[in-house]
């Protein structure tokens, strides 16, 4: 019986892969707003629909669950393999480019308090807040907590959000920041490399448009963005593993405790 369950899961997985890849990348554009859907997202949706149709039962879910953690290691190798060839770029980058990489972690102190204090999120907040939740983050959470854990739900939800809204959001954000004049265009260019190629292009687009007639400035802007992108794709994995996740966990514990403390006092007061 156990083997039967296993084969059902494997054959279903193969059928889902084939169906998802046959649909292929789908680009949607509504005026200024555009996004691309990827096969991996259809695989999730097909799974949810088949569950709704009761094709997938609890036994199959329990069989498939540990397979996620094993198969996700392929992602680790693929992401890790791009780091080695990029090491020289890190050696040659200037101080501004190197230090701004730390800025990628600043988000933890910005989004985690909102997640925990405003939305009262649980451990899913850790998964959603330690990074911008691209493929490398899926690999990290999949390995450390499992993609079907609370943390996994957070990172997957944020991954889907990023796929659907990331490019639009980045373009709007950089356009707005350009109007405010708070930052030099070089700083905005350096910040554009956050580890996602599509989000970088989206963040870069408003800058390219604004400085189209200043070729010297434009080439610097593009070089800064590209280098920052290479740096993030190289250090992002380790930054998340050694700094992002531990700091997020630490802050999560602090926030939960601070929130719990007054309530406990009230109980003790009675």
């Amino acid at each position: 019986m156990k083997y039967l369950k296993d084969w059902k899961v494997q054959i279903l997985c193969l059928l889902m892969v084939i169906a998802a890849e046959l649909i292929g990348n789908q680009k949607f554009a509504f005026g200024l707003v555009s996004f691309t859907l990827f096969p991996m997202l259809y695989a999730l949706v097909i799974g949810a629909v088949l569950y709704g149709l009761k094709v997938i039962d609890m036994d199959m879910m329990k069989t498939a669950s540990p397979y996620i953690g094993i198969s996700v290691t392929f992602l680790t190798v693929k992401v890790g393999a791009s780091i080695g060839p990029n090491l020289p770029a890190i050696m040659n980058a200037g101080p501004a480019l190197l230090l701004q990489e730390l800025g990628n972690l600043g988000t933890i102190f910005f989004s985690l308090p909102v997640a925990v204090l405003v939305f009262k999120m649980g451990r899913a907040a850790v998964g959603a807040c330690f990074s911008i939740s691209r493929e490398g983050s899926l690999a990290i959470v999949g390995d450390m907590y499992g993609l079907d854990s609370d943390e996994g739900q957070g990172v997957m939800g944020a991954y889907i959000t990023g796929t659907l809204l990331g490019t639009v959001f980045n373009s709007l954000m950089v356009s707005s920041l350009l109007i405010t004049n708070w930052f030099h265009p070089y700083s905005l260019a350096m910040a554009a490399g956050t580890g996602s190629a599509s989000m970088m292009s989206a963040a870069l687009a408003p800058l390219v448009e604004k400085f189209a007639n200043q070729p010297e400035m434009l080439s610097k802007i593009q070089a800064y963005a590209a280098t920052s992108q290479v740096l993030t794709s190289a250090d992002g994995l380790y930054m998340s593993l050694f700094v992002g996740i531990p700091v997020t966990n630490w802050l999560y514990k602090k926030l939960k405790k601070e929130k719990a403390a007054p309530a406990q006092k009230a109980v003790a007061g009675k």
């Binding site: 279903l12 992401v79 393999a81 600043g106 930052f183």
Partner: protein, 170 residues
């Protein structure tokens, strides 16, 4: 009861097989829709098996070291990804690793996204038991994810601005 290693190797081989089939379909679909189809490379499943074999070798070596390290330091809570990625990086360093060139050319034949599809299919099969919780947190996760993009960007821009000013570049 299947042993730990039996399950690991079984799933690694099956995932690789599914990814190689998905990669072919992905290539064919992309080619058929491309404005410049002659530029889209399509690889047969067996053409990417050298890459997949090297990936599996790196994963297995990484897992062996990870198991050993976990047995030696049970309190350290060391994730597998630490060891697997470290080996992947070492193998990919040009002028240091004899496999660096092989890795770069072979790994390019399999896309990151087709590699994700079988993983997310397993996740899709087991998503049912998490759907209620997922639904409940939907709006919160979307808002928090967007705040994360904003925070990441502003954080980097702020540091870049300060350092560029400090070093007199702007």
């Amino acid at each position: 009861m299947e042993g730990k290693w039996f399950t690991r190797i079984k799933i690694l081989l099956i995932t690789a097989l599914f990814a190689s089939i998905g990669n072919l379909i992905n290539g064919l679909v992309t080619k058929s829709r491309s404005a410049t189809p002659e530029k889209v490379m399509v690889y047969m499943p067996w053409q990417i098996w050298p890459a997949l074999a090297l990936m599996i070798a790196i994963i297995i070596l990484g897992l062996i070291i990870a198991d050993f390290a976990k047995a030696k330091f049970p309190k350290a809570d060391l994730p597998n990804i630490l060891f697997i990625s470290a080996i992947a990086i070492l193998v990919g360093i040009p002028n240091l690793s004899p496999l660096a060139t092989f890795m770069k050319t072979e790994f390019a034949k399999i896309g990151l996204l087709p590699l994700c599809t079988p993983i997310l299919s397993y996740a899709g099969i087991s998503i049912g038991k998490d759907l209620p919780a997922f639904k409940k947190q939907g709006v919160a996760i979307v808002t928090v994810a967007l705040l994360t993009f904003l925070g990441t960007y502003i954080g980097s821009a702020l540091i870049a601005e300060i350092v560029l000013k400090f070093t007199g570049q702007i």
